[in-house]
């Protein structure tokens, strides 16, 4: 019964993957390509589907950290190209699957660079206001108002740590952050993780608040 259910789930998953791939990517794949890919990933279908998902997630991260704008499409394009390429190739046991995916991903990243150069010019304009000499926001600006609102949602101790972390500039920040970690009785890596998570929560709240103001 369980096996039957898993089988149905896999068929649905395959259809879904095929649909997603056809919708956005340049390289199209057939049902046979996908079956070949899954067979190459692992002999067991369920394991292959799991591996597929893991590799896809990893590729999305790869393209994100490479600064690509549509990481999901590029990840799918990588998988499609690997799937198509598999048709004419015999592998020996020495080929690492991840390295193979990486080689395609790095090529696609280079192709994407051309596209990004167009955006780069635009981003340069946008960020010129953050250059050091310029004052960023005035008191009572929507950004400051929202930030205060969002910070108020956190307990005072968390607020204090976050503000203290960001209150020092270039020259003193390394030493002061080390002190802050010591004060908290945690190591500097854990402090970074903690700040990173806090900043993400504040960031999500900030975006929502600014959107609400715009509306």
């Amino acid at each position: 019964m369980q096996i039957e259910q898993n089988g149905i789930i896999l068929v649905v998953l395959k259809r879904k993957l095929l649909q997603i791939n056809r919708m956005r990517t340049k390289t199209e794949i057939t049902q046979e390509d996908l079956v070949r890919l899954l067979g190459w990933l692992a002999p067991d279908e369920e394991e292959a589907a799991h591996k597929y998902e893991e590799i896809r997630k990893g590729l999305i991260k790869f393209f994100y950290f490479r600064g690509c704008t549509d990481s999901e499409t590029l990840a799918d394009e990588t998988i499609n190209r690997v799937s198509v390429k598999l048709a004419g190739i015999e592998f020996d046991g020495n080929v690492k699957q991840i390295t193979y995916f990486y080689s395609f991903a790095s090529r696609i990243y280079l192709e994407d660079l051309t596209e990004r150069k167009k955006i780069a010019a635009k981003s340069k304009q946008i960020v010129s206001k953050f250059e050091k000499k310029d004052k960023l926001e005035k008191t009572n600006s929507p950004g400051t108002v929202c930030l205060e609102k969002c910070l108020a949602k956190h307990p005072p101790q968390e607020r204090q740590i976050l503000l203290k972390y960001y209150s020092f500039g270039k020259n003193e920040k390394t030493a002061m952050r080390k002190n802050l970690a010591e004060e908290q009785g945690i190591n500097i890596e854990y402090l970074h993780t903690k700040i990173s998570r806090l900043r993400k929560t504040v960031g999500d709240c900030l975006r929502k608040c600014l959107n609400d103001i715009k509306l």
Binding site: G58, F62, G67, S123, L136, E158, R199, G203
Partner: protein, 273 residues
């Protein structure tokens, strides 16, 4: 490689200026190692701070625009970081005041040391030192009755919130446990260590007669040693009865068998594989 060196390499990768072998090593790691995300995110945040601090060279700045600041997410991250820093640097004056205080107190202790170092006052100095040590011992062992480390206190603050209305818990690894499962090895709940989120939400089923306003203390035990503690955990109502919800950090959940012991005597077993 030391952490600074590694971080510098990650920043080069983000700027698109790392060597081919480094690019491949980092690229493959991003694809395969889920735990690497945090290091990359930290390098991203540091790079943005370097930019805001004007600490990038002219060449790095060009790469920053051309290869890094090319997604809406990163532009948002830059905006948020800039806003947060500006706000913190303007409003967090207490920090510098505290520092001045610390400096002042440093010079006070220096004068006190010189004053007490005279032969006549040495016995008084000895008594003073004993009193200070006594006070510190009292503060740590008696006054701070929670007995929690700083990390445990941070998580206690997290767990003190109403977790039914905390949207971020939806994305956490979630494990429900019933008391006593540890005894039966076959039915021990198993968590896959590789797939855990940074924080893990445990839901511990409680007996139906548990008073709603009761608060629980918890100990996470591994190999007979308590590895993590939490206090003041509240009771939640669910469709099947009552339960405790507690968020624990992934960092305390390495491979092995664990028991969660409650102050009520309840015990819950699970294993991390």
């Amino acid at each position: 490689m030391d952490k600074r060196g590694e971080n510098a390499k990650l920043k080069q990768f983000l700027l698109g200026s790392s060597s081919e072998p480094d690019s491949e090593e980092i690229g493959v790691r991003i694809i395969t190692d889920r735990n690497f995300d945090e290091k990359m995110s930290f390098a991203e945040e540091e790079l943005i701070e370097d930019f805001l601090d004007d600490a990038l060279t002219a060449e790095e700045k060009e790469l920053f625009y051309a290869n890094f600041l090319t997604t809406p997410e990163r532009i948002e991250l830059l905006e948020e970081t800039a806003l947060l820093r500006e706000y913190a640097q303007t409003n967090f004056t207490k920090t510098s005041e505290n520092l001045t205080e610390e400096k002042k107190s440093g010079s006070f202790f220096e004068s006190l040391r010189l004053f007490l170092s005279s032969n006549l006052l040495r016995p008084i100095a000895a008594v003073l030192i004993i009193l200070v040590i006594g006070a510190v011992v009292w503060r740590v062992a008696v006054y701070d009755a929670s007995g929690l480390s700083q990390i445990e206190k941070d998580y206690a603050a997290l767990n003190a919130r109403d977790l039914n209305n905390a949207p971020e818990i939806a994305n956490l690894t979630n494990q429900s446990l019933a008391a006593g499962t540890f005894r039966d090895t076959d039915s021990t709940a198993k968590l896959n260590g590789a797939n855990l989120t940074e924080n893990v939400l445990f839901r511990l089923a409680l007996p139906p007669e548990t008073p709603k306003d009761r608060l629980f203390n918890l100990e996470l035990v591994k190999g007979g040693q308590t590895v993590f503690k939490q206090t003041g955990l509240r009771v939640y109502q669910n469709q099947n009865g009552q339960e405790l919800k507690v968020i624990l950090p992934k960092t305390v959940l390495s491979k092995g068998s664990y028991q969660i012991k409650l102050s009520s005597g309840g015990s819950y077993g699970f294993a991390v594989e």
